[in-house]
Symmetry: C2
Subunit: 114 residues, 2 copies
Amino acid sequence: MSEHDVFLADCPARTTLSLVADTWSVVVVYGLGQGPRRYSDLRERVGGISKKMLTQTLRKLERSGLVRRRVLATAPAGVEYELTELGRTLLEPVGVLARWAEEHADAIAAADSG
Amino acid sequence: MSEHDVFLADCPARTTLSLVADTWSVVVVYGLGQGPRRYSDLRERVGGISKKMLTQTLRKLERSGLVRRRVLATAPAGVEYELTELGRTLLEPVGVLARWAEEHADAIAAADSG
């Protein structure tokens, strides 16, 4: 159990929620669900993300201990990203949310145009 | 099963994810989980939200068919918000994400300052 509460403005839980409750964070974390990916591979996987936004999102996730960056000893040098142990705990929540969006997209679109 | 895919930039699933994968949407939907709430009551529940942001968030959720607004025949007139049937399907995903944030806030804060 935790004494933290997302309803409280100044609670660390709110800060943490703000970190992950954003579209790009959800899609990037979800996109790392199958294992490590190179930057270019991840950019291909996450449709529509700009280099700037992918870099920003990865830096934010890295700073928060959710993602690990690794420089590969290849030529040319590549960079790989993977979820940390902490990051893997986020896979279920983002998966549940992403699948909800996939399953309810038609209903939402219908309401929006109704 | 759905043919929609949040990894595709132009997919309705991505649009739907963008609608709900944001801090205020998550907290407001979660805050309506116990049943209808008056505007003022909801604003008290969701710590730190401005009137403008709460109104915008509720309008967005209403337009998407997730929330229903009802004018109460009281004096002074009150306004109440509640989740629709579609909105209630979102309770589990936002609950899972909010609880994740509450449970992992300390680990994230530790990583961030480390």
